[in-house]
């Protein structure tokens, strides 16, 4: 039995009296592409932010490669360096060029030499098709391009898991494709990914597992074939019906 790379145990999160996540349990194995789908406000993004410790869980554990992250045994910065995150709003550093964006973490956090960081950054920028734009500032490129740079920035840290928080939601429709195709390529190459998304086609075609969240709990999970083809819960059916109607 292979150990899961990421194990979420009874995770809960409240903001004040408002309970966003309740008793979330699931495992991520190496090479898995897990899609998290659900209505807006169902806690998908909060779950992802908790996994990257951008939000502190109210209770529950996150076990990463057998180490408990929430207990404080591993410092959050060390952990975050190993778990990449791609945001809905890109969050590229506005004061740096595309290349510098991909080098900063390697130099500051991984303590790589400048040359090494540069070569690695160029490698990944090339992979996402952004190599010609290394001298551009984030404000000078389009949304789809920004998101591809953000993916390269995350990859340059050689993460073990990559989290995507609605990576295409802030994009114009014609740019969604370019980002999804990069993600598809990553998935095919065996990257372990956890994707919060509204792109049902992507979830259906690419993921090895789909998690449907509703009102802060995991309502149903399974292979895309099971969940999309033969949903068991009524909530899942309602949610999927709404997407198919459109």
């Amino acid at each position: 039995m292979t150990e899961p790379i990421l194990k979420i145990n009874h995770l809960s999160k409240s903001f004040g009296n408002h309970e966003i996540l309740r008793d979330i349990d699931f495992n991520v194995y190496k090479g898995d592409v897990t899609s998290i789908i659900g209505m807006s406000g169902s806690g998908k993004s909060t779950l992802l932010r908790c996994i990257n410790l951008l939000e502190t869980p109210t209770s529950g554990d996150i076990i990463f490669n057998g180490e408990n992250i929430t207990s404080g045994a591993m410092s959050p910065t060390t952990y975050r360096a190993k778990v990449g995150m791609v945001f809905q709003s890109f969050n590229l550093f506005a004061n740096m060029t595309v290349l510098e964006n991909c080098m900063a973490g390697q130099i500051k956090v991984l303590k790589k030499s400048k040359d090494e960081a540069r070569a690695c950054a160029l490698h990944y920028l090339d992979q996402v098709g952004m190599a010609p734009y290394i001298n551009a500032k984030p404000r000078q490129i389009s949304g789809g391009q920004k998101q591809r740079v953000a993916i390269a920035r995350a990859l340059a840290m050689s993460p073990e898991v990559l989290l995507f928080d609605e990576p295409t939601s802030a994009l114009d429709p014609e740019m969604v494709g370019e980002v999804l195709s990069v993600m598809k390529k990553l998935a095919n190459d065996g990257m372990t990914m956890l994707v919060v998304t509204h792109e049902m086609a992507f979830a259906h075609d690419i993921s090895s597992k789909v998690v449907f969240m509703n009102k802060g709990v995991i309502c149903e999970e399974g292979s895309p074939y099971e969940l999309f083809g033969n949903p068991k819960k009524q909530e899942t059916k309602d949610f999927l019906a709404r997407f198919i109607e459109r």
Binding site: T2, Y79, G105, K108, A119, L125, A131, I134, S208
Partner: protein, 313 residues
């Protein structure tokens, strides 16, 4: 009209006679204002970083208490130095320190006056800058901090390499403001005997009683200094914004990327493919052998990587 011509004559006469004194004043004023603004800016940035150290409810009480203590100190510093006149602060420090230390700490001679003036104006500017910097930090989108945290940067790294450079750009108009205010307000340092431009005026009119012509000269000089400073800082702001265009790079990328041979591990791209992932899934039930074998065959050998590098060259 006649009076204006007369004034011109008087000013020319006094300038001709005393211009070395005025120029010394200009030099002293500019040096003091420049260094104090710079030092004040640094103090402001340090206060800004200290003021924004994050903490959560889960942190131990000691850490939270310490952070609260630091914030209180910064707050007291800002409120005190922003809330009292610089003239009084000058007197307070220049005479107060020797008073409390029974003359063990003294500002003696010309260098003593310089040191005291630099300290006072810097601390004063720092108090104003602390608030400007705080505003500058608050103006930066929260996503920038999250982006930096997500790649594993700590607070100091996030601040120095992501937030502060952007905050600095945003508060440049404030820095310019402070520099100009310092050029003018260092004049109150005459109270502890600092020989700035205004102090020269007091000396000169003490000899010849030509109050108005000398004041007119001073006015012109101050205006010239502040206007130059203002233009210079506008120029610096423009430089900080950088070029609006960027060049597409097509040539050397392939070489550089191809030469990178991933010393410790392969890339996530070649580490494992989809097929293998499936195999591993099955392997949880089945045997370990198949996946293991595939894994090895997927990783490029050192030889392969080298050829790729050479090919690209």
């Amino acid at each position: 009209m006649e009076r204006i011509i007369d004034l011109g004559h008087d000013m020319a006469r006094i300038w001709a006679q005393y211009y070395p004194a005025y120029m010394t004043g200009v030099r002293n004023t500019l040096i003091l204002a420049f260094i104090a603004t710079l030092a004040g800016g640094i103090i402001g940035f340090i206060c800004g970083i200290l003021n924004t150290i994050p903490y959560s409810k889960n942190d131990p009480a000691v850490k939270r208490g310490f952070i609260a203590f630091i914030r209180a100190i910064v707050r007291i510093y800002v409120e005190f130095f922003r809330g009292t006149p610089m003239v009084l602060q000058a007197v307070f420090i220049f005479y107060g320190l020797p008073y409390f230390t029974f003359n063990k700490v003294q500002f003696t001679g010309n260098s003593g006056i310089w040191i005291a003036s630099l300290i006072i104006v810097s601390i004063n500017t720092g108090a104003y800058m602390a608030e400007s910097v705080r505003g500058g930090i608050l103006s930066i989108d929260r996503g920038q901090t999250e982006g930096a945290m997500a790649i594993g940067m700590n607070h100091i790294q996030t601040m120095t390499s992501v937030i502060m450079p952007q905050a600095l750009r945003n508060i440049m108009p404030q820095v310019a403001n402070n520099f100009i205010i310092n050029i003018k307000d260092t004049s109150v340092m005459f109270i502890i005997g600092f020989m700035d431009l205004f102090a020269q005026h007091r000396n000169i009119v003490g000899i010849n009683y030509a109050f108005f012509p000398s004041a007119a000269i001073e006015m012109l000089i101050y205006l010239a200094m502040t206007f130059t400073a203002s233009c210079l800082l506008r120029f610096i702001e423009k430089r900080m914004d950088g070029n609006d265009n960027y060049e597409l790079v097509l040539a050397d990328i392939a070489t550089a990327a191809g030469n990178y041979n991933f010393p410790n591990k392969g890339t996530p791209f070649d580490e494992q493919n989809r097929e293998v992932a499936h195999m591993e899934n099955e392997e949880r039930i089945n045997s370990e052998y198949v996946a293991e074998n595939h894994f090895i065959s997927q990783t490029p050998s050192a030889e392969q990587t080298e050829t790729i590098g050479k090919g690209a060259q």
